[in-house]
Symmetry: C2
């Protein structure tokens, strides 16, 4: 038997434990062309909140009473595929459960001798690629330009700011605690960092961005984002990656309309999801791995231990509890 | 002596006659390299409202107690330039006055035997070019895509819709009277048109756009624009040209934040002003002239007679009184 986590209710507002159900089910048997995978790491991500609503989006919503899924690193414990052997580490979009059956075509092997297995869900995975393509393909920061990133100590934001530094930009991060601000300045080398919970963001941004803002990497939406628009330089670029401040809203999310600001500055806002770049993943992965090896890119992971903590780890995202990528460690890798 | 119109006050909210002053001043003398120009047509445009505020934008604000300026077609009555002769028709950014002195480098000759002089301020001028580059460079409509344009019977909107039709798109216009709706459908060949003053825009858009919206050419902002976002298709494009609904706002213009919509659909919003395309004007002018000659492009002008009506013609823009380009005819062309 194994545990798995189902979506019991579509959350209204902020999700709670009541929206999920942990059930015990038998471990299925693998068939030809399939592997049985023991879950090692589960990725918990803010975007999953959107999939819990019954709304049209870029990915279909989760179904009620079905197992939740996200990025998972696991280890093959039984293989009926010629592509995999027992002990192989694999990456895939798998269930929030202790064991998964996967078709051989739906997972790919990873090499944890090059980089720790967890990084395939963080800096070298979708998170790193999201930062990479959003910033470089849409934001296009040039040397000495001012790049502001919100959710700066989070999974994507912490990588965005560092890539912007690699490209020679002046980088300002917005985050939600003094600990995170210190992390951005001392560990990641941001030029300036703002604690939006204790500082007046408008005033702090003006001071931190004396030359205006050329690129704003949007992770949060809401009032923090509103404070950006009056400071945009001409031809500014805004990759719109996330809007976590509104994910749990029950009312329409209302704020100053942006059209006037975009016209005055000929600025661009571009929403994106990492799937848009699937044909270019290897390009991004290569650069990220190189920067990691060269020590130019640091990564931080908030790892919660134990499958039973998965829901808590997910809920904590909306309290801004994590620094860097948030993962749940379900089991140890067996040699 | 001649009349000229000065900005007396920075308008608060909707401009009124009290914000302007008509004065009588002597006609200046031209010096070497200059021409004296008799004003024939004055262009009145919504964007001029923004220049009446004392705010940073893509063009400097008008100064108090100085003459207002906009696009003007005039006729040379005295030339101290080897480039111009008496009788030449010229185009330039000139004052709201009956006569102007201009440096020979600040105006250019136009040929009104090819197209009526007024068209150099409308379909063949900045207005037509704004529609052309905004739609084609940012909107990039493909055949059979759905293009929605607001302010559709206005100067820019009426050209946008027709260019979209030329490119094979399905075109929906939003305008503010039944007369305008009829004009869009019967004269300009739009596929659908909505009267936002008498119809529920949300419902009407849903019905008019059964395949969703691929391109939204933004001229108005406000609630009309709010109704667009839930209908965007994946990878939709929104050239942001104007937001006339907010130009006279005294309060912050508030509405649903757009980030969530942009993320869900990977859509793009791009503000622009025609000056961004100055190196490509000839390309646009050539296409517009060709379409005009081929009868594929129609234009409408609302021409107000008499210099004394200039302020009224400007104020009428904010009541949506005009169909097509709004111009003031100040004098006749002399043969």
């Amino acid at each position: 038997m194994q545990k798995q986590i189902l979506l019991k209710n579509r959350p209204e507002g902020t999700p709670t434990h009541n929206d999920f159900e942990v059930v015990n089910v038998p471990i299925a048997k693998s068939e030809a062309g399939e592997v049985l995978i023991k879950t090692v790491y589960i990725s918990v991500d803010p975007y999953l909140r959107g999939r819990m609503n019954d709304a049209k989006s870029y990915i279909p919503p989760f179904q009620l009473n079905e197992v939740l899924t996200s990025g998972v690193v696991g280890q093959v414990v039984e293989s009926k595929s010629s592509f995999f052997e027992k002990g192989d580490l694999v990456l895939g979009a798998l269930g929030w459960q202790e064991y998964s059956i996967a078709n051989e075509k739906s997972v790919r092997k990873i090499d944890h001798t090059i980089a720790p297995a967890s990084t395939y869900l963080s800096v070298l995975g979708m998170t790193g690629l999201t930062a990479y393509f959003g910033l470089l393909d849409i934001g296009k920061p040039k040397a000495d330009e001012t790049v502001v990133v919100s959710g700066a100590a989070g999974a994507v934001g912490s990588i965005v700011g560092q890539i912007a530094k690699i490209k020679g930009a002046y980088v300002v991060g917005i985050a939600g605690s003094d600990e995170k601000v210190k992390f951005l300045l001392d560990e990641l080398g941001f030029d300036e960092a703002i604690n939006y919970k204790t500082q007046n963001v408008k005033e702090a941004l003006k001071e931190a961005c004396p030359k205006g803002i050329d690129v704003y990497f949007e992770n949060v939406g809401g009032e923090i984002s509103d404070a950006i628009f009056p400071l945009l330089n001409n031809f500014a670029r805004i990759p719109v990656c996330g809007a976590i401040s509104s994910y749990n809203n029950e009312q329409v999310d209302v704020g100053p309309r942006v059209q006037g600001y975009l016209i005055k500055t000929s600025s661009l806002m571009q929403g994106f999801t990492i799937g848009n770049y699937s044909s270019r993943y290897s390009e991004g992965a290569k650069d990220l791995a190189t920067w990691l090896q060269e020590g130019k890119l640091k990564y931080e992971e908030t790892i919660t231990e134990g499958f039973d903590q998965t829901i808590d780890a997910f809920l904590a995202l909306f309290e801004g509890a994590n620094i860097g990528k948030s993962l749940v460690k379900v089991s140890n890798i067996e040699k």
